[in-house]
Symmetry: C2
DNA sequence: GCAAGTATGCACCTTTTGGTAAGTGCCAAG
DNA sequence: CTTGGCACTTACCAAAAGGTGCATACTTGC
């Protein structure tokens, strides 16, 4: 087969990161990256993981205050999912007043480790990123201009 | 000050990954990780970046077929954003029929590098992740049960 | 002449995501 | 006895993200 495009130059790239998906009923991850992304998808999940990786077991309230701007609903929801996914461990001391803390499981810790380079990239290119966002916002404002 | 909680054990964690946000008008990244996440947010962006990192300049059509399940709208949209953000370079050969290809800029390449650990994590823990998703879906099915 | 392919654009709509606000049970401080 | 904090829970909503499908301008193949 093959379409035999105009030039033979751009047709020889060994693409394959997601090729072998059966497209049946299985989740079908395109590649490891895809799989990972689905686990950490959620506005605050990576932050929570990274956060927990920095200290020991952290209490709900501390986490809440630490990850500024997160709402109870979201934090709880994410924590529940992370727990269900085996990334964090929840410990309820059954005390009154309630006391609960969260910590990473080995799996969660390994994921947090994998997040480090992203954190580093962001830190190293903070200037670029900031500029990028400034431009994005500027563009957006023009759109609104009520 | 201090609430002087029941136990003095869980109160001494040096949290601070996002503390220094001015909370003014600036985007205010909580940390490098946060900054990075905002740039790559988008269902297919990481995949596209990672994909482009694997080969040389890739034509739109190839990319489209490679990142299975992505729609034209999304691919184009993400590519535009990635270009605007200085992560990918778009080359229009102004030919007829149209020919365009995309490649990573140095910045984009560095980000792609930072994504490698995530890809590796996903690959190494593919089994766990698959199981996790199987459970998630099972739970969802119970919810539906029309 | 009509279908197909190229790289996009655009309108419309659904799903997902996230935010707000109020409420719960319980206890301690004022 | 009102207020406040803890760790959530729930209902309701707005916004964003993503998907579908049609359209474009032009060419090549049948």
């Amino acid at each position: 087969m093959s379409a035999k495009v105009s030039d033979p130059v751009s047709e020889s790239l060994p693409i394959q990161p997601q090729a072998e998906t059966d497209s049946s009923t299985l989740p079908g991850f395109t590649c490891g990256l895809d799989a990972t992304l689905r686990v950490v998808s959620g506005k605050w999940k990576p932050l929570v993981l990274y956060f927990l990786a920095q200290g020991g077991p952290t209490r709900y309230g501390d986490l809440r205050r630490a990850v500024r701007d997160v709402s109870d609903k979201m934090l709880i929801q994410h924590l529940k999912e992370l727990e269900a996914d085996g990334l964090v461990k929840r410990t309820d001391y059954k005390e009154i007043p309630p006391r609960v803390d969260y910590s990473l499981t080995p799996l969660g810790r390994s994921l947090a480790q994998a997040l480090v380079p992203l954190c580093t990239w962001g830190a190293e290119n903070m200037a670029e990123v900031t500029r990028i966002f400034a431009e994005r916002d500027a563009w957006r404002d023009k759109g609104r201009k009520a």
